[in-house]
């Protein structure tokens, strides 16, 4: 299905900027997959199915937005899954200790960015590869989870349960959770920052060529450290959303989530060498993953491991596509 969209896109090429092709391919894929779902299963056309994809993947969306910033500068952040778990764990533990919800929120939202800031500093000032530094961050955050508690802690706080159960919907009975609205807000802010602010242009410039950016007098150090801090903040927000969703903090939750996030960003058309990609593409990438899961759930006869195989196959298809249209791929 992606090959047909590719050939269709090729014939229009003169009028179409090349860097939009991956995003459009993702959009086409998403529509095709949704179409398949609707044609195969009657209940699939229900609006609530779409809303459920957002409800189930709101936290993934937020984290993927943070990861988009990092990947746009040509870096990578492996620590996101663990930071999500750590944030949920810390909030659960603090709430159990009886702290007020507002204070817990502030503390939980500060941990992720702090870790991200430290990792960014190590990456920039000591020139250690992002892969290794964020790997250490991943180990650290995951270790902290079990350090806090070996078993999962449930959350009974009124504010949390309120946020978890609040349904915002239309008279027809379709609804979204507050988490989805928060995720949308994060997406909008991120899209604005990347497209219309000086900082956003710096992110693209550093990802395009850090050396040139430095020679042009752009604040490479600040930008690089800032993207890891943003990724940390997004992971922290993702962790809070996850704790709204599950109403607990578990030490082994969100294991391997960084792979899903990276896959979503790549499927969304962001190039892993940096400098090219959009937040909108990432949203589509997350939706593709969500729809795959929904399709497999609807089918019923396919097992959960097919999700992984399909995601792997899609990754391959999209990377091949990026290669074919030749966007600055080393």
């Amino acid at each position: 299905m992606s090959s047909t969209s590719l050939s269709a896109v090729r014939s229009w090429r003169p009028s179409l900027p090349r860097r939009h092709v991956p995003v459009l391919a993702t959009l086409a894929l998403l529509l095709v997959m949704y179409g398949i779902g609707v044609s195969q299963y009657r209940a699939f056309s229900n609006v609530q199915v779409v809303f459920n994809v957002f409800i189930d993947n709101g936290f993934l969306l937020v984290v993927a937005v943070g990861m988009t910033f990092v990947i746009l500068t040509g870096g990578i952040d492996l620590s996101v899954g663990s930071v999500v778990a750590m944030t949920a764990m810390v909030s659960a533990a603090l709430l159990r200790a009886g702290l007020p919800a507002a204070l817990v929120l502030v503390v939980a939202l500060l941990i992720g960015p702090t870790l991200g800031f430290l990792m960014g500093c190590a990456i920039h000032f000591f020139e250690i590869q992002p892969f290794i530094v964020t790997l250490a961050g991943m180990f650290f955050a995951r270790g902290m989870c079990t350090f806090i508690s070996d078993s999962s802690i449930s959350i009974t706080d009124g504010f949390w349960t309120g946020m978890s159960q609040e349904r915002i919907g239309d008279p027809a009975g379709n609804f979204v959770s507050i988490s989805v609205l928060i995720a949308f807000a994060v997406v909008l802010v991120a899209a604005y920052v990347l497209a219309y602010t000086r900082f956003g242009r710096n992110v693209y410039a550093v990802g395009g060529n850090a050396q040139s950016a430095l020679l042009m007098g752009l604040p490479v150090a600040r930008t690089r450290i800032a993207v890891y801090t943003i990724s940390g903040l997004c992971s922290a927000i993702g962790g809070i959303l996850l704790s709204f969703y599950t109403l607990s903090g578990a030490p082994l939750i969100a294991v391997g989530m960084e792979l899903d996030v990276i896959a979503a960003v790549v499927i969304g058309g962001t190039v892993l060498t940096g400098g090219s990609g959009y937040v909108f593409g990432t949203v589509l990438g997350v939706l593709v993953l969500g729809v795959i899961q929904t399709l497999i759930t609807f089918d019923g006869s396919l097992n959960s491991w097919w999700t992984k195989i399909v995601i792997g196959g899609l990754l391959f298809a999209f990377i091949l596509l990026q290669r074919l249209i030749g966007i600055r791929f080393k």
């Binding site: 020139e127 992002p130 270790g143 350090f147 792979l259 992984k308 990754l315 990377i319």
Partner: protein, 356 residues
């Protein structure tokens, strides 16, 4: 003070000095904490003791890290090794569990050959993606890392396949000449790789491809073939490690077998002083790095800390070793008074860092 520092410079300047020091310090700390740590005794003709356990359990990591060293030396990275471990273990266990006589050497040999062949094919897939199609290694192998776990579960059908095969079990738990068989296999593989890379020009070629693939090609080296080859070798090493991991527990679990071993292997390689940017590698450093990681894990277990919390210690060690090895960090320490800009260190970088 200067004279002492000068005299020690040849020693501290050696690339294996810091990793070796870390290992010695860890063993020393262990011995202080638990005096019986280094005790080794002979029972039924086998050696028993914590050091022997560390050696035995580090065998899969050493194997995976060996292959990873070669891949990283070419400037690449192989994230798929953990999944390959799971797939090869799953295929081998599936074949053995279906056989009438699980203990027959022929069955085990066929199983190993099948699984090994499958791993080679998957390694070749990685190699084609990187060397022929030219996809960035970290993404090319990410595909198999994600999909591979699914394939492994597909092979085991989501179950944990338990087997009862003496010969297969021996790969992980057997011993030969009083030493664990696993560590002997790992050592043999290490020596084989060392012989091929350091006694022939192959190692130099690998390093030159890692230094600059295009320049190497112009110099008459078939860069693509070399890159292709290292991914196949890495997959072969991962398959062997997969046999050991599954043999240790006599069962294949598509989800858990070889989980995170790729990260441990990359750590071992980096701790051993191989640059992630490619262009040089140290096999002895890698073996040392793998031993450090396994010693750390065993230490933490012995201290009754939960395995997950051991990640905290791992994070600290990783950061410490990487900082000590980072040229920028050393330069900063030597010339602390210079400004914030890490200018002096920049020219020391051998090449533009790959975004790995």
């Amino acid at each position: 003070m200067n004279t002492v520092a000068d005299r020690l410079r040849p020693l501290t300047g050696h690339r294996l000095f810091w990793p070796a020091l870390v290992l010695v310090v860890m063993i020393a700390a262990n011995t202080v904490y638990r005096p019986g740590f280094l005790a080794v005794e002979v029972k039924n003709g086998h050696l028993y003791g914590t050091p022997v356990d560390i050696l035995r359990l580090s065998a899969p990591l050493i194997l995976v890290a060996l292959g990873m060293t070669l891949v990283i030396a070419t400037g690449g990275i192989d994230l798929s090794v953990g999944s390959l471990c799971a797939i090869s273990g799953a295929i081998a266990c599936l074949h053995i569990s279906g056989a009438a006589d699980q203990n027959s050497p022929a069955t085990v040999a066929t199983a190993l050959a099948l699984a090994f062949g499958a791993a080679l094919v998957l390694g070749a897939w990685n190699g084609v993606l990187v060397a022929v199609i030219g996809i960035q290694p970290i993404i090319a192998t990410l595909i198999l890392m994600v999909a591979g776990r699914g394939i492994a579960q597909l092979v085991t059908e989501g179950q944990i396949i338990t087997i009862n095969s003496g010969p297969y079990r021996a790969i992980g738990l057997g011993s030969f000449l009083t030493l664990p068989l696993a560590i002997l296999i790992a050592l043999a593989a290490a020596l084989l790789v060392a012989a091929f890379t350091r006694r022939t020009a192959l190692g130099l070629i690998v390093e030159s491809v890692g230094g600059n693939a295009e320049a190497s090609r112009l110099a008459g080296i078939r860069s693509r073939r070399v890159v292709f080859l290292v991914y196949v070798v890495s997959a072969a090493c991962a398959a062997l490690a997969g046999f050991m991991v599954t043999a240790n527990v006599s069962s294949a679990d598509g989800n858990a077998a070889g989980l995170w071993i790729e990260l441990d292997a990359i750590l071992a390689v980096v701790i051993g002083g191989t640059s992630l940017a490619g262009g040089r590698f140290s096999l002895s450093g890698t073996v040392l790095g793998a031993l450090i990681i396994q010693t750390l894990t065993t230490t933490v277990y012995a201290m009754n800390i939960s395995p997950q919390t051991s990640l905290l210690f791992k994070a600290v060690v990783v950061i410490a070793v990487c900082l000590v090895q980072a040229p920028a960090f050393r330069a900063r320490f030597r010339r602390r008074r210079r400004g914030v800009e890490p200018g002096p260190a920049a020219p020391q970088r051998e090449k533009e860092q790959v975004p790995a």
